[in-house]
Symmetry: C2
Subunit: 193 residues, 2 copies
Amino acid sequence: MASDTRTEILDAAERLVQTRGFNAFSYADIASELDLTTASLHYHFSGKAELGRALIERYTERFGEALGAIDAAGGEAPGKLAAYADIYASVLRDRRMCLCGMLAADYDTLSDPMRAAVVEFFDRNEAWLVAVLEQGEREGSLRLGGSAPEAAQALVSGLEGALLIARPYGDVKRFESAARRLVEALAAQSTPA
Amino acid sequence: MASDTRTEILDAAERLVQTRGFNAFSYADIASELDLTTASLHYHFSGKAELGRALIERYTERFGEALGAIDAAGGEAPGKLAAYADIYASVLRDRRMCLCGMLAADYDTLSDPMRAAVVEFFDRNEAWLVAVLEQGEREGSLRLGGSAPEAAQALVSGLEGALLIARPYGDVKRFESAARRLVEALAAQSTPA
DNA sequence: GTCTATAGGCAGATAGAC
DNA sequence: GTCTATCTGCCTATAGAC
């Protein structure tokens, strides 16, 4: 069972990475926030790279649970895509960037385990989207311009970029507008009833 | 007249920011690369924030020149959009992220002058794109799903995101595929002759 | 599990000689 | 313009007491 402190460290580190980037926060930032010492942090995580790896692992797991919840709710593909985009919007409402989008920017400076975990996050996102897009084609609710994997890649790219650019403008509506546009353009809804 | 050393400093710093991010390079990195001391760098730029501001200023200027060259070459809107996307592709071929896309990730940690310069970069990009998209509608070469400003925002977001995600995969084709897809979806070409 | 204390290095920056 | 020398502060990390 993970200690409560471990979870609190992950929570604080996660927020710091999502707002400032991996190279712009320190153990001291987390320690002061939790009223601990940096030495105590090393008891829970051997180093910053290991903390970062654990961060991605937890984030990917939670993201997967959110995707599973969308699947469990059922419904047609267009609704699932809207729910997917809203996961991103909820991150921005918290004034954050996607953890792995931020780490994609920091990619050149990351340890090998962190790099592999970042790529795996995107792979899983795209795999889930491919399934939804193929569902949409089967049920006739979506028209794709090309292959489902290509559309999935463009969707993830577009949504991550919309998050990235919306943050300097501090404007959630800007994201929502771009996201709606991207989803509708890349996976056009067949005119519903 | 700017000294040659000043230009060399900007070149080295630019590459470092585009590959590692603003908080993951140091004056020492630049100094060792140019066989200078960090003290000498302070003669040319008062501090890291001022160096960063100068970096964005030059980058925005150069980007503007590239956009002017596209306009000067003339042609219809679809060709201009393809040329625009190829500017991004050329950045990635150099294994870099867009300077301002990277700084958008670092945004929370930037000085006010740097923040303002980053936003201005995106504003100028979008203004140029709006003009191209409106040209396309006028000449009948493009069909937009909605307003030109919204499409322009989605295009910039999409291309920046495609750069961001392509870098971890080290795959230029991945960017090119997503970029083509984004451009075609957000600004559909009216079936040409 | 958390602490004190500290190591060893690197950060950005400055004074003043040349 | 570039240097040497140096400052102050922060960084990650470790040893060892409690």
